[in-house]
C-alpha cells in the first residue's frame, strides 16, 4: 500500500522450516541470514507451537540488528506454508527429521536440507 510515509520493502527471500526448531536449524538460519539478509528474510514455520517456536528463535532474532526478518507460523504443512509469491523466492527448506522430507512438495525438493 502506498503512503506518504514510504513503502515497506517486503522480504524477498523465504525459508521454510518444517518440524522442530533444533539448534542445527538455528545455525542454518544464521548462515542463510548472512547470505540473503540484504533481501530481507521471511521465515515460515509449520507446523508450529508459537510460544515454543519464538522462544527457540529468541537468540537468533535478538542477535540480528541489520536485516528485516519476518517470522510466520502455520498450523498445517508445506502446501499452505509455501512462499506467498510461489516457490521462486524460497531459498531453502529446512527439515528437522528425514521422515518429513517426503511431505515437501516436489517443486521444492531441490532445496531441502535435513538439519537435526
Amino acid at each position: 500500500m502506498e503512503s506518504a510515509t514510504g513503502i515497506y520493502r517486503k522480504p524477498s527471500a523465504t525459508v521454510l522450516v518444517y518440524g522442530d526448531i533444533t539448534p542445527g536449524v538455528v545455525e542454518r538460519l544464521k548462515s542463510l541470514l548472512r547470505i540473503h539478509g540484504s533481501r530481507g528474510l521471511r521465515i515460515i514455520i509449520a507446523p508450529h507451537n508459537t510460544p515454543r517456536v519464538l522462544e527457540s528463535l529468541r537468540t537468533f532474532l535478538q542477535d540480528n540488528y541489520t536485516f528485516t526478518v519476518e517470522v510466520y507460523t502455520r498450523s498445517t504443512g508445506f502446501r499452505e506454508a509455501e512462499s506467498p509469491d510461489g516457490t521462486r523466492d524460497v531459498v531453502a527448506v529446512l527439515v528437522s527429521s528425514s521422515e518429513l522430507v517426503k511431505s515437501v512438495p516436489s517443486s521444492l525438493q531441490d532445496r531441502v536440507v535435513v538439519v537435526t
Binding site: 500500500m1 506518504a4 514510504g6 520493502r9 510460544p51 535478538q62 528485516t68 526478518v69 517470522v71
Partner: protein, 504 residues
Amino acid sequence: MGFEVVITTDRTMMSNHHGKEFLGFVATGPPISMPEKLWLYICAPKVKVDDQGRPVEAPYGLRKIEAALQNAGFNAAVVDPDHVEKHLDSVKAILIGHHDFFAYGPPSSEWWSITGIEPVNRRSFIRFMNSPAIREAKRRGARIIVGGPAAWQWLYELELAEKWGVDTIVDGEGEKVVVELVDKALRGEDLPRYVYVGVDNVPRVEEIPTIKGASVNGLVEIMRGCPRGCRFCSVTLRPLRFIPLEKILAEVEINIRAGTRGIILHSEDVLLYQADGVRPRPDPVLRLHEEVIKRIGEKKSFAWAHVSLAALKYAEENYKLVTKLTREIVLNEHRRILGVEVGIETGSPRLAREIMIGKSKPYPVEMWPQVVEDAFRIMHENMIVPAATVILGIPGETSDDVVKTVELIERLRPYRSIIVPMFFVPMGALKTNKWFLRDHLKPEHVEALKVMFDHTIYWAEDIIKLYMVSPIHLPARLLLRYFMAYVKWKVKKIESAIEEIVKK
C-alpha cells in the same frame, strides 16, 4: 463512527505525569509505602480526552504511528486506555506501544530485583491487557499488534502473548511496516508473528511523518540515531538522521496549539543536531533553540531529552555554546533549570574502552572521567540539571572499575544532579521472581549504590524546589517528599542487612 484502528497503551504511558516527564519514572518502582492508586496519582494521572476518547497528549511514538496510518488513509487514532470500549463495534486492529511493557528495562528491573515486588508499570500493563475492553475486542476478532522500544520483552513473555492473542510483535522503527501490517490485518490476511525492521526499512528523513496531535509534555524529535557506537545500545545501529527545522517547528506548533505545558527536544544528543560527526556546530543548535523558544514564549517549560557529556564539554569549551543557550535563550525567571538525561555509565577508562569507546569523542577514552567532571561543572554553572545513569554489574566489570566509578561520583558531589544506578540484570531472570539483586552484589557495588544514593538525596530537595514551582504541583511535591523520607529511612534499615549478606 468509531475507529477501525485503535492505537493505545496502558495508563503509565498515557499520561503527562503532571507535566513533569521525570515523574513518569516513578511508575518504574514497586508500590511500596503507599497504595498503588496513590503511586498512579503521582506518576500517571489521567489525561484529558475528547468525546471519542482521543487524548489531548499521547506518547510521541504512538503519535508517529497514528500519523503514518492516517497519511496512508486508514481510519486510525490514538485512544486513551479507558476509552477503547467506545470503538468495540468498529475496531479491527489494536496497536499497542510501550517503553517497558513488562518492567524488564532499567530502572524497573532493578527496583524489582531489589524488592522482589512487581513494579507499577508492569502491573498496570497486565491490568490493561486483561481489561474487559481489550478482551472483548479480541473476542470480536480484532488483531493485536505490539511494538515500540520494548518490543523485545515479548520474546520473554510468549505465554502471555499467546494468552492475550497478540498477533504480531514489531521490533524497530515502525512507521513504514505498520502500514503494511495494518493493511493485512484489515484484509484478514495472515500476519507475521514477529517482524524485525532492518536498516533497509527504517524511514528516510523525508518519510518520517509529522505528528497530528500533541505529544506527552510536548516531546518533539530533532534527530534519530547516534554516532557513538556504545556496545550495549541499539540506537547506534540505525542511520543518523536530522529532522529539518521546519518539521520540528511544525510539531512544536501542534503541541503549543494543543496547550502542552512546554516542549522537550528529543534526541540521543541534542547538541549534535546537524553536527559535524561528534563535534557540535553552534549555528544550527542556536537557531533551533531560538526558533523553538520564540514559539513557546517565556512561560512554557523547556527540556532536553538527552545530551552527551563529551558534546557538552566540547560545545562549551570551543564556542561557549552552553552558556549562550541557557543564559541568552532558554532560561528566565519562569524557566529556572534545564533538565536532561545523561549517561556516565562508568568512571573507569578501562571499562569505557571496552563498552563505549566512542562516548568520550572527540576526547580520548582515557579522559572519560575528566570529561564527566568537566561536563557536570559546566551544567551546574549553567543551571542544567542532569539525571545521570551509571551501569553496575556489566559482564567483564572488575572491582577496580567499580572503585573508579565510586571515586568519580564522589568528585561530582558539588554539582546539582541526580545519579541513578542501573544494575545489569540478565534477561528473563526476573520472570520467576527468584533473581534478587542482593545475591549478585559485591562489596564495592554496595559502596557505589550508597554513594549514588547519598548524592541524589543530597540534591533532591533543592531540585524538587526548582523543578516543581507551580502551586498545582503541591500535592505531588508533598507526596514525593514523603516518599523520599520513607526511602531514606528504609535504606538506612536495609543497608547493614545488605552489607551482612554481601560479606557472607
